[in-house]
Amino acid sequence: MIRKYIALLRMKYVEMLAYRLATIVWMTGAIVQPLITMAVWMNIDPSQSDAFLFYFMAVIFVERMTSAWDVWELDREIREGTFSNYILRPLHPIHWAVAENIVYKVLFLVILAPVWAVAALFVPALRFDMTGGQTLLFLMALLLGAALRFLLSYICGLLGFWITKVTAVYGVLEVISLFLSGRIAPLSLLPPVLQQWSIFLPFRYMIGFPIDIITKAANSHDMLQGFAIASIWIVVFVIALRWIWKAGLKKNQAVGG
């Protein structure tokens, strides 16, 4: 398996180099929405400017590190029939997607982390101090978030076996997640009902939860609860994915001649 991953990572890296410009646009493009949202919030409550600055910079970082695009790829591949080529090979197609995610996210990390470090030299609001334990918890939450978003996106993509243009369905989920994951506003600013919901839904653990750890908004009770609920969602998603994969293969029409 390790050899297979090395080969896939290498190939995805070469492929990414072929898409240099797109990769850059893709990375910088995603920064615009959080920046605008940040500007709006700073305008609403200037006294909290520093907190918003830090929060939304963290959103940019966490959002990029957990972003998932697999639904778009799967939707296209299943609809156009090229997905057959993955089914034919003796390796589950999901590994191709995992490898791709690793390559792109390592690139994001390699670019975003130094940018943050340099920016923190000039902007005091970006500085933070965390113990080794906190950093570890943050990284774990980040990994869980990435896994959750990836799994949800992949599951939706596999629905392409039943529905053409499944991205429409995913679009609805994205809008819900925009609010409940903490991308539009820190979760503490949401109405209490939504806050309550967000604890039990998976979206918070995709973005908001790692940020709560880095901003120290989450106490140890919150963290314990967060990790537990996020882990339950991972299990639910994995079970759903396996089931949908099996059912999908039966349903597969392997379109195109």
Binding site: R3, K4, I6, L8, R10, L88, R89, P90, L91, L249
Partner: protein
Amino acid sequence: MIHVKHLHKSFRVHVRQTGWLEAIRSLLNREYRLVEAVKDISFTIEKGEIVGFLGPNGAGKTTTMKMLAGLLHPTSGEITVGGFVPFEQKTEFKKMMSLVMGQKSQLIWDIPPMETFLVNKAIYEIDDRTFQQTLDELVELLELAPLLDKPTRSLSLGQRMRCELAAALLHRPKVLFLDEPTIGLDVHTQEKVRRFIVDYNREHETTILLTSHYMGDVTALCDRVMIINHGTLIYDGELDVLTEKLAPYKRLEIRFANIPAVPWENYGEIVEIEDGKATLRVAREKVAEVSSHFLQHFHVHDINIQDPPMEEVITRAFQEGFNDS
């Protein structure tokens, strides 16, 4: 190597109506129709055979092939390929077969074919030595050397198809399914691909099932053909027998300096008589006699004897059926 018994495949298809009102109505009340793509097909293919799978568009060729490769789940019936049930998707099964689809590339589009080869090497767990040997052989046979490092998207269709074959053969499959492998290729490249398939089959005793629209593929490659129409197998046997049975004629084209005034109908069925050229359909057993007659008694510029085009033979097969086979 391949056993198929009473294979069926039907699809539930949403019936779409044209027109705005109908479209709105169909949103509320979807109508479905059951399309039987493959109806009760049975056949056996032995190890090392090359079999041509013929039939018009939509006859069920590709559907059958996709079931053999494990991509589609049969509605009913039995399939085993090399002892495996394709749809169970066993790793060992996937390692012993390959499906090449003329229209669906497995090569990764924006990077060179060599990258796909390396990924396949890892996925199929091919050891370094075997990989190098197989690759060298394929590079030579398919003349790939200058193509390996160019992005796939910049290759011509023929170049890409050759790389496609190589990618499919790296793990030395025992069974090879070729779905329209020469589609869209020019005559020269078609010829190259065909020669490669024949050589490869001879060398490695690979069992090959091939679909094609080009009769040239079938006549060049296959001794045995299966003809499928409307999802049913209507002929399974030797190509020569098929030709003789359906086309007991040859096409005779003679060019003269001056076209003689002879009772043409005595020699065969007249296809066309024009300035300096006569085209006749002559019974097989009379071809030698008729052509030597003209060569001896008239000033003949050129003479050309051909089997009737396979298209014609097959079309006739579809029209008249195979009641006696």
